[in-house]
Chain length 519, copies 2
């Protein structure tokens, strides 16, 4: 694939950048450091902090967030950007300025009082959501959701009154991927998956679905040891990371220290294992960012869809492949002798079964998952556009589950109250999950083209992931935020970013698994 | 003892403070939050961080430190302080303004470039010190020590050109305890201990010195379980703290989350146990600060000597008492069956033995410890005053060890290079350790007066520490930095802060242990 040796040569270290560039980058490094400090405080809160620590931690996080906002919108940043307007910059430096300018302009456009109000609303909405979910009572949460919708519209109006509000909100997570592109990818995914899932439900193929759950329990400590072995096998550098337990698994950190968390269900070791591999994928991205650009946009992840592409590539294309199970099953049996009788095929089928009646996004399989996302995306778009009232959300939600997935929630706790994201006012975030899957498929297909599908498969089967790491670092990680999303994908894969590779991937894989006619 | 119900009444919540007071306190809360974030990052670095994380962590800590400096010296703080100059404030609010003003003036007086240079020198000096210590080669470290001395003199000159430079430096750790008072306390300690230790060396009493070390090894995991039991027994609130392992034990955090660390020597469980109790003492102080004043000087520890008084009170007056061993030995035997044969008296004697030939401060006993401190204090005073050249330090160090302790280091690694502090440029820090011991003795004597020595001893013997916690919270912790050190001690004990109680304590205890004539 394309590398950028040619234009990198234009950024010779001999050319001194303008003083304003140094000022800008220095200040941005401070912003990064304050944000990373906040990231560590959040990690600690979820992993290490005793419960009593909350009141001080909330204040610390709130101060760090306001300090990083103040540093980013400092007059010195605005002046430096103005000065650099007309400057001749190397491509690399121009990318740095472009990225910082984008962040600065957005932060500068929004009044501090509105930021404050959104933050307060999030705190209140979180408590209300927790209560509403526990009681399965949407009414309790509705006023806060309404408030969030109002504030987010106002926010978008400040950023750009001439553009679609949802588009503006989406850019908080995907600063440079067009919503149009995202919509078209989600539409393709929906159009492929809705009929495919119907067909799978009608399929008479008898897949193994309980290779592990039928064999007794799996103590958490042993699962943790297994996850550590999996991370070592996949190439996790323990001198730059840790594995810990958290109730909602996540990954966080810097290229020097990218940590992974997981959680354990003693009935089923697959969940912790695949979730660990998922978070490992996120961590590989962070670890692959160039050390020397720490603190600069060149050392920063591009956006959430690229991040999610890395987690899903490792989780789905590697961790859910038959080749992986051929290689890794003996390690599972070392920790859990009861699994000695499981065959790679049984493990593979279990890891790839499509659930018939799962209503919960975070428990979904690789296919139905995206319909959970599409539903949320459609609802939040309509909410922000004013085409849907908050009060209508539960009914619309349930109807869409029936339409797309053929199942209907019996209450709001297992329906529109299941996810925390809207209590944070995060509209525009959910789509990045599906975009990540589509990008993962496109990247994986490109790697197969580059190194040969059989050779790649053989590597996974032998537990040799070096080629994969090298390709991803070279084509994705090391660029940081230098290229915009489209360009990054196109440079890496030779094609614009679409759902085509994903459609092909699921059609092949699930067509074969479920012996579907349409394939 | 004195409580301040009377003047607290003057701070009725009904009186609205001036707006400038709110501005000042709000900004100071931000400073606190940024500092506490830095504290958590340091804790993580020493306890959790993978080794690869250092480059980013150093930058994060440096940014947080510069941000908190900028927040503290913000023009808004200066203006608010000016406005409050003539304001009528309640005693409590006046104390808040006094404390913030003191910090502001010091931070504001020192040019940012000097702060930067001191910080750079510390980084370079740390590497040089590590190398010098490993090679036992003072020459390698000498230029950095010289640089530190110069910079610190310059620093003191900026803060106050009319005062003794060491006095100014000492105030970084003891902002409101006079150096004169500190010197007089240290002199009394030295004059008591030098002859006492000589007498102890001549004593023919045959103390048990190896109650535990003679009985095999003590696995680290079991020691950790023992330390957890000790913390629970002493009343550590696990919902507001954690115990972890660190190569240099420390305690850190806020009143909501005060963490303790320890380390393990498998040959000897006493070290980890007493160090855990020491750090527990620090944590009790932090935990006893008033929740409602988090972020304000009223919710802050007074200074290092008060902090150290709390750690040493718990370590020495409780953890090294015979009553404690009568109560706690069965718990030790639960974890280590080999210790079933140890008697409380043997444990007590072992924990209180005075070493004949220990050159290392951090391994010293309760008596010789202070001579290690006195030597460092005398040397750093002379260095800053210009009465001693850096090149003379090793010789003077060795002579003083011979004079005060009757032993002579064979090389600089076990001599003047043993401690890290001077590589940080921390002059004025060491004395706080001995001041803490003196204060601990004075507080403990006051508690004995208040509740009765026998009743207090009985409480310790029964593992009931409630009275002790209550007294310390009531008389020390809950005041935060409201009173200056002298006033705090005098309100708590009814006497000015002196070494008298310490002298009496060690004279009684060690006189009896070693059957000394002088007693």
């Amino acid at each position: 694939m394309a590398t950028d040796a040619s234009d990198a040569a234009g950024d010779g270290e001999g050319d001194e950048p303008p003083a304003a560039y140094e000022t800008l980058l220095d200040q941005y490094r401070r912003v990064t450091n304050v944000r990373e400090a906040g990231g560590l405080l959040s990690w600690d809160q979820q992993v290490m902090m005793p419960e009593g620590g909350t009141p001080a931690r909330s204040q610390q996080l709130s101060t760090l967030s306001s300090v990083s906002h103040d540093l980013l919108t400092d007059d010195a940043v605005g002046s430096a950007l103005d000065e650099l307007d007309a400057a001749e910059l190397t491509a690399e430096r121009a990318a740095v300025v472009r990225e910082i300018r984008r962040e600065y302009e957005r932060a500068d456009a929004v009044p501090a009082e509105l930021v404050e109000e959104m933050s307060t609303t999030s705190s209140e909405a979180l408590s209300a959501w927790e209560e509403a979910k526990a009681e399965s009572d949407f009414e309790t949460f509705a006023p806060y959701l309404e408030k969030h919708v109002e504030l987010k519209r106002e926010y978008a109006e400040h950023v750009d009154p001439d553009r679609d509000a949802y588009e503006v909100l989406f850019e908080d997570f995907e600063p440079c991927l067009s919503l149009e592109r995202a919509e078209s990818i989600l539409a393709d995914i929906r159009e492929t998956l809705v009929p495919m899932i119907e067909e799978i439900r009608a399929s008479e193929v008898d897949l193994t679905t309980d290779a592990f759950t039928s064999l007794g329990t799996y103590p958490a400590d042993d699962q943790e040891a297994l996850c550590r072995d999996a991370l070592s096998t996949l190439g996790y550098p323990w001198d730059r990371g840790r594995l810990d337990t958290a109730s909602h698994p996540f990954s966080t950190g810097t290229t020097f220290d990218a940590r992974v968390t997981t959680r354990f269900d003693e009935a089923d070791p697959l969940g912790s294992l695949l979730s660990t591999i998922h978070e490992f994928g996120h961590a590989t991205y962070t670890l692959g960012l160039p050390d020397e650009h720490y603190g600069s946009p060149l050392g920063q992840d591009r956006d959430l869809s690229v991040h999610e592409s890395q987690s899903r590539l490792w989780e789905n294309h590697v961790g859910r492949s038959q080749a992986f199970w051929e290689s890794f099953l003996p390690t599972v049996a070392e920790h859990f002798p009861q699994a000695e009788s499981v065959t790679p095929r049984e493990a593979y089928e279990t890891a790839n079964q499509v659930y018939e009646d799962n209503l919960i996004r975070v428990e979904a399989d690789e296919l139905t998952y995206h319909l959970h996302i599409v539903i949320r995306f459609e609802i939040e778009r309509a909410l922000i556009a004013g085409d849907l009232d908050v009060a209508e959300v539960p009914a619309v939600w349930n109807d869409k589950y029936e339409e797309y997935l053929g199942i209907r929630p019996e209450n709001d706790a297992e329906g529109c109250l299941q996810d925390i994201h809207w209590s944070h006012g995060n509209f525009g975030y959910f789509p990045t999950y599906s975009l990540g899957s589509a990008m993962a498929a496109q990247l994986y297909a490109a790697i197969e083209d580059d190194v040969g599908a059989d050779a790649l498969d053989e590597g996974v089967r032998e537990g040799d992931f070096e080629t994969l790491h090298e390709w991803l670092t070279d084509n994705v990680h090391r660029h940081g935020a230098r290229y915009e999303t489209d360009e990054l994908v196109e440079r890496a894969t030779g094609e614009p970013f679409t759902a085509d590779a994903f459609v092909e991937y699921v059609t092949d894989k699930y067509g074969s698994l479920y012996d579907l006619d349409s394939v």
